[in-house]
Each structure stands twice: as C-alpha cells, then as structure tokens.
Amino acid sequence: MGEEGQVISCHTVDAWNQQIQNGKNKLIVVDFAASWCGPCRAIAPFVSELAKKMPHVIFLKVDVDELKEIASDWGVEAMPTFLLLKDGKTVAKVVGAKKEDLQQTINKHAGNSSSSA
C-alpha cells in the first residue's frame, strides 16, 4: 500500500473509518495529538521511528482539533494519548509522551509478526 512504515495522518472521519476498516486483524496505534501541544511535538520523531521499525503495526495520527468528534468519542482528554486498537476495540492506552511505556505496550500487543511477508 506504500504506507507501511509510516505514520498515516487521518484528516477526515471517512479516512479514519477507512483506516480502521483496513486495519482489522492488525494492531493499530493511534497518536492523538495537537499542533499546539509541546509534548506531542517532542515525541513525534520517536513515533515515526517506531512506525519504521514495525511495519506490521499500523500507526495513525489524529489531530484533536481537526477531528474533534473522534477525539471525544474515544475519550481523549490530554495529549498525546496513544490508543492501541484491535478489531476496532481499545486494548491499551498510554497517556502522555512516555517513550519506554509506549514501546513496551506496543511490543506487548504487536505479537511477533515483524517478519510478515
């Protein structure tokens, strides 16, 4: 799809729904961020690195100003909030720019399919 290894920004509700649909059977990591949030900017390069290292995991980014209803539907109150989704359901949540915790939580839920064809 040409998007593996990258963080995919969702700018519309349709794009969001599409990505969630496409990502069934995979782990999806959603980074809820905002342009005015210093901690979000601070951790963004780290998230990009994770996306590169884990092509079998889908990394999405949602700007909470752009997609307010999605942020509120998913109970995002502080930024950054990372939701880990499987089959459209939250399996884990990391609130804050916490590199080690984010990496460990993703590893725990990503399984060992990094060498998937």
């Binding site: 210093g38 601070a42 951790i43 109150e77 502080a78 930024m79 950054p80 990391v94």
Partner: protein, 341 residues
Amino acid sequence: MAVSGFEGFEKRLELQFSSHDPVIGIGLRQLDFKSVEQVLHQVQCTVVSALGNQHFDSYVLSESSLFVYPTKIIIKTCGTTQLLKSVQPFIHLATTLNLHITELRYTRGSFIFPQAQPHPHTSFQQEVVYLEDNIPTSLCYRKASVIPSKLTSHSWHVFSAGAVEYSDNVNPLDLYTVEVCMTELDQTLDRKFFRHPNDGKNGDSAGREMTEMTGINRINLNSQICDFAFDPCGYSMNGIDGDRYSTIHVTPEDGFSYASFECVGSVYNDDMADMVKKAVKVFGPGTVSVATTAASHDICTRIKATVEQIGMKCRSYSMDEFPAAGTVVFQTFTTRRNYRI
C-alpha cells in the same frame, strides 16, 4: 539526620511574560523542544515524560517539573540542580517570540543539606545577588525576604520582582499558589515509593502503580496524571485539570525523607483545603509547611483547619507582603506527638 543525602527541597521559579501584540496564541508553547532541553541541560536535568491539554504543557523532569503556559513558565527542580541558570535563557527564548518578562518569583524552603548546593545556590543571599544581576531593570518592584517559622529547620525564602505592582486587577482570576513541603514521612507509607527489583516494569508503569496504590490519584479526581517512578526509589507526578496544574515529588529515603505537593487554586474552586489534606495523608509527615502566595486569609485559615483535622498542630503562621506578588503566608505544622521546636 544523615550526614549527606538527596536534597528533596525544590527551588521554584515562576516567570510571567507579556506581549505588545494583542494576539499571543500559544505563545511559549511554540518553543522548540530542543531549545527547552538545552535550558534544562544548563540546570542539569532532563525530561522523563510529558503531557499537555488545551491550556498548557507539563513535563516531569529527572529533578521535578516544568509547566509551560502561553505566557508563563513554572519550573521547580530539586537535588543540586542550578535552577537560576535558566532565568537568562528563558527570558532570551521568550524574546524570540516577542514576549517580554513582566514578573519573576523565586521560592524555596530550607535545604536539608545546604553545604551541598552549588553556585548560585550556596546561600539565599547569593541567589538574590544572582537574580538581581540576571533580570531586566524593568522589573523594578522587587523584594527578597525569608519568612521564619518557630521551627528553625523550616523557613520560606521568597524573591519577587515585577514590572507592575500587584493588585487584584493584575490577578483577575484570583489565582493563588499553594506549596506544601513535608519531612519525616511515615516509614510505612514512604516504603510505597520504592521500586521492587526486577519487577518487569518501566518508570512509567511503576509510577502509575504508585499513583494508584498510594491514593495520589484520589487527591483531585478531575486531573489527568503524568507520573514516573525512579530507580531504586522516588516518584514524581504532574496533574493537569483544565488550566490548573498540581505536582508531587517524593524522596522517600530514611533520614532525609521529603515530599512536596503544589497546586494552583482559584477562588472559584473551593476544594484546595481538601486537596492539601488528602496530599498530607498520603505521606503521614512529622512536619509540614504550607506556603500560599496571593491567597485570601480565608483560604489560609481553611487550609490550617483541615490540616489540623488529621492530627497535625499548627506551630506558626507568618506572612509577608511583596509589591509584585501580593501576600505570602507561611504556616508550619507538626504532629501532636512530635511537638518539638
């Protein structure tokens, strides 16, 4: 008391900025993270985790905390950090955003290990000299004062400088700051701030467990918490609740155990005394000091009454006026069984 150990007592700096431009937007929150990290490097600390909301950004540091609002920076650091070295760089960084400093406030308690402090923190006098040398002359309403208590080991050091005199007009939201310092923590309670070796947790997940296990998460149920547990012991958290922050730092080692709770309050939120009480209960300290800046007499007496409800006795109540900061009230408490002056 131990001959030497970790200095829990923080140094705290609050910098208020203003712009000639009526539209400030996100102001200081635009600052590039690398620039902020460089300032922290001079102070000798680093960011361990961070969390923001629509009002401000909060950072848990290797030594305490940093809060960045559009026109305000609050930074407190413990240990042997050189906090005042951040004054010039922060003022400079703000200038790049067309923001100029209008007020500065520096506060701290009494160090447990004053001999271990590096320049410019070797004495309060030195700190004041350093500040006087590093702030613009436009901050002309200045005062430095040490507010005493009946406990020789506890006094409150304040340096305040502002471009305008303090008045209720300057503080339209009636915001006030409460800084609580606790020593001689209950030894059973402070065990909870030690990590278990090889527990498979990281600093973030161990911190989250401490937040829940100790009841820190129940101090303000509306706040989002960013927490961290240090190895082998120690804990820090920032709470964000709308535009109000709270922060807790713990040094649990026997002989120099220390915990602090700080929170910003508004006369429109009436829960401050209750939060102070809950925070003190988490630690069961032998001695507590509470410094309130720009709070009404009524709020101070309410805090006194609630802290006394949990077996502490107020030993002193002193105050001082600062031309740019308003009234600072400094109260000290000890447990009733621990009555010694």
